[in-house]
């Protein structure tokens, strides 16, 4: 972070306040819609950021992420349907509280625990990101290549499905990134004389296609059985109750920090782990599952903490650890911002905007969260057949905004089909998106390294950072293989016994 004066300037001279509020509102509304995850909510808004000032655009995306994490808890508590994956753990006690006529109280605990978790996460983001990025100042092109390979390996091995499928998806993503003009020689590749392909396939199209369109296609024809009680209002917890919840919120903060830093960790794991740990350390563990306030506070603190701490590896090293941070990375790249340490050197204002925008969004979440609940309930209660049509039209309108090109629409639709087929065959989409996003960095670093070394591949082993990162990538892949073999053997043994 630069100086305090810069932050004051950001608050007073640019509309960061409005950006934060719009992002937060959009995030809560999107997160509240079952089936629309935080990453999809972010992907939907991504095309609109294209023409924005980079600092505001990235702050907007960060605020959408924060809002979506809270928004997901609304249907989780009210209709036992998590709005986002990371609010699944909130269903257990949140819905039980709703059944006991304490829905407003559960929503209030969720809101305030989210604020606590987000503030803690933001503090960690500010404290840890810049010191970590200093490490990356020593990075050479070979190191960046190692970093890219590590990111792809970790996400491929941590994604759902098999390692082979994860790696294949990452390679296909890298292949997509090679479409367009070669970064070194300027030669065109895989463009088939189509002018629209000269600039390559933009990551935003891949994200919108694979996340949002695939989700709409997959939901097609499903029944609309959701109905929220429109009279519910949020009841904020008293100081005494907040005092009672501090233990579970502390657990949520710590596990949220840990999972946010772990590639592939994410809010869902953090939320469930926090729920379990909160029950273990609770004075009233018997109440868990029966409408415990701590059972709502712990997972909500954890998943909101992750929304900030997941940005630490992204901003420090350019490695996104989840779908949502991958979209954020797409936003950075769309604005020509190089993720990793260079971001702190060349675009300090972007970093400041993320910090300031996030802080405003977190504080505003208390008021907006209360005010927007009726709108969320109204939106969730709309028939799904109208919702799908409006969301589909919004997606296509947003994509057209990028380059005023119907060609982009065609590409996004094709990628929607690809995403659907990947879902059917259980291929993870995140490695593919990362392949597209990191492709340029991986290729240009690889080739620049070889130019520097005169074509000698040993440069990747002689550079200590590159060696370390590539070794880590190898270890991740090796242990994933071992895990897969073990699971296959276990499945076989189980079948033999049965």
């Amino acid at each position: 972070m630069s100086t305090f004066a810069d932050i004051i300037h950001l608050l007073t001279e640019t509309p960061i306040f409005f950006v934060a509020i719009i992002g937060l509102t959009w995030g809560i509304l999107g997160g509240a819609l079952p089936g629309i995850s935080a990453s999809i909510t972010m992907a939907l808004v991504l095309p609109f950021t294209y023409t924005m000032d980079p600092a505001q655009a990235i702050a907007l995306l960060a605020c959408v992420y924060i809002g979506a994490e809270y928004g997901g808890s609304i249907p989780a508590i009210l209709i036992r349907t998590p709005g986002t994956n990371s609010s699944a753990a909130t269903v257990i006690d949140g819905y039980e509280m709703n059944r006991q006529g304490r829905a407003g109280e559960a929503l209030g605990i969720s809101l305030m625990s989210g604020v606590v978790g987000s503030l803690f996460g933001l503090a960690m983001l500010i404290l840890l990101t810049e010191p970590l990025s200093w490490l990356a100042l020593a990075f050479t092109p070979a190191s960046y290549f190692g970093l890219g390979i590590l990111g792809l390996s970790v996400i491929s091995s941590m994604s759902s499905g098999s390692l082979l499928k994860g790696l294949a998806a990452a390679v296909v993503g890298l292949m997509i990134s090679t479409v367009g003009t070669d970064p070194i020689s300027g030669v065109t590749r895989f463009t088939f004389d189509i002018p629209d392909l000269l600039g390559g396939i933009e990551p935003v199209l891949v994200m919108v296609g694979l996340f949002a369109l695939t989700e709409l296609m997959s939901q097609s024809g499903s029944l609309n059985t959701l109905k929220l009680n429109a009279s519910i209002r949020i009841k904020l917890p008293s100081l005494a109750l907040m005092n009672k919840l501090k233990r579970s919120q502390f657990i949520g903060c710590i596990l949220g920090l840990f999972e946010g830093l772990t590639p592939g960790g994410g809010g869902s794991i953090a939320a469930f782990m926090s729920y379990n740990e909160a029950r273990r350390w609770s004075k009233t563990p018997q109440l868990f599952g029966k409408g415990s306030e701590e059972g709502v506070a712990a997972p909500e603190t954890a998943n909101n903490t992750v929304a900030s701490t997941a940005m630490i590896p992204l901003l420090s090293f350019g490695i996104p650890s989840s779908n949502s941070t991958a979209v954020l990375l797409g936003g950075l790249l769309m604005h020509g911002l190089i993720p990793g340490p260079r971001l702190f050197e060349q675009s300090a204002q972007v970093i400041d905007s993320i910090y300031v925008g996030s802080f405003i969004a977190i504080i505003a979440q208390i008021g907006i969260g209360i005010l927007i609940l009726p709108a969320c309930i109204w939106l969730v209660n709309r028939p799904r057949y109208y919702r799908s049509g409006f969301i589909f039209a919004l997606i296509l309108s947003g994509i057209y905004t990028l380059n005023n090109s119907t060609f982009d629409l065609g590409i996004a639709l094709m990628l929607g089909l690809v995403g659907y087929l990947m879902r059917m065959t259980r291929f993870p989409v995140l490695p593919m998106i990362l392949g597209v996003v990191l492709g340029h960095m991986v290729e240009s670093s690889y080739r620049r390294s070889l130019v520097l070394s005169g074509g000698d591949l040993r440069i990747f082993l002689e550079d200590p950072i590159s060696l370390g990162l590539l070794s880590l990538a190898f270890i991740f892949i090796f242990f994933s293989l071992v895990r897969e073999f073990r699971e296959a053997r276990k499945a076989k043994l189980k079948e033999v016994h049965s």
Partner: protein, 164 residues
């Protein structure tokens, strides 16, 4: 055919096609030792190997009738949660029709038609609400994108001048 086996075969086919295309990438005097086609060829080979391993593992599992049986069951579970393929593709075809009609009939009408078509496809009762929501949606998005955000959405060659 087992899904993993099919996926492996498709990946190998994609790798082969991509490799063939990559050999046609032109050389440049500005190019480095690797060249513009260097990485694509490496990627094609890696994908072919991964596809081969996936197909091989599927074949082996089918032969042993072990892990893949469980995986196939999981696949079916996953499939149950998704719309059937024809239905999903049908949904996408409305988007394709939108792409074709957009330059012709313009943004407002194309958007309204898309909303109405999707609503009916997804099971909305055929009442006055469908056209009302569609027209409202078309006008709302036009107001947001064209008037508020200043995006030049197509006016439509058939209705040139009406919404400009």
């Amino acid at each position: 055919m087992n899904k993993d086996l099919l996926s492996g075969v498709v990946l190998m086919a994609v790798a082969g096609t991509y490799y063939a295309w990559s050999t046609q990438i032109a050389d440049s005097t500005l190019s480095d030792e690797i060249g513009a086609g260097g990485l694509p060829q490496v990627l094609a080979i890696i994908l072919a190997i991964l596809g081969f391993c996936l197909a091989g593992r599927a074949l082996l599992s089918m032969k042993l009738n072990s892990a893949t049986v469980n995986e196939a069951k999981d696949d079916d579970d996953e499939e149950d949660r998704n719309a059937p393929f024809p239905r999903a593709v049908g949904f996408l075809l409305f988007g394709a029709a939108y792409v074709l009609l957009l330059p012709l009939i313009g943004y407002v009408i194309a958007t309204a038609l898309l909303i109405a078509a999707i609503a009916i496809y997804e099971g909305a009762p055929r009442t006055w609400v469908v056209p009302a929501a569609a027209i409202g949606g078309g006008v709302l998005y036009w107001a947001i994108f064209v008037k508020l955000l200043g995006v030049n959405q197509p006016v439509g060659s058939l209705f040139q001048g009406l919404f400009s």
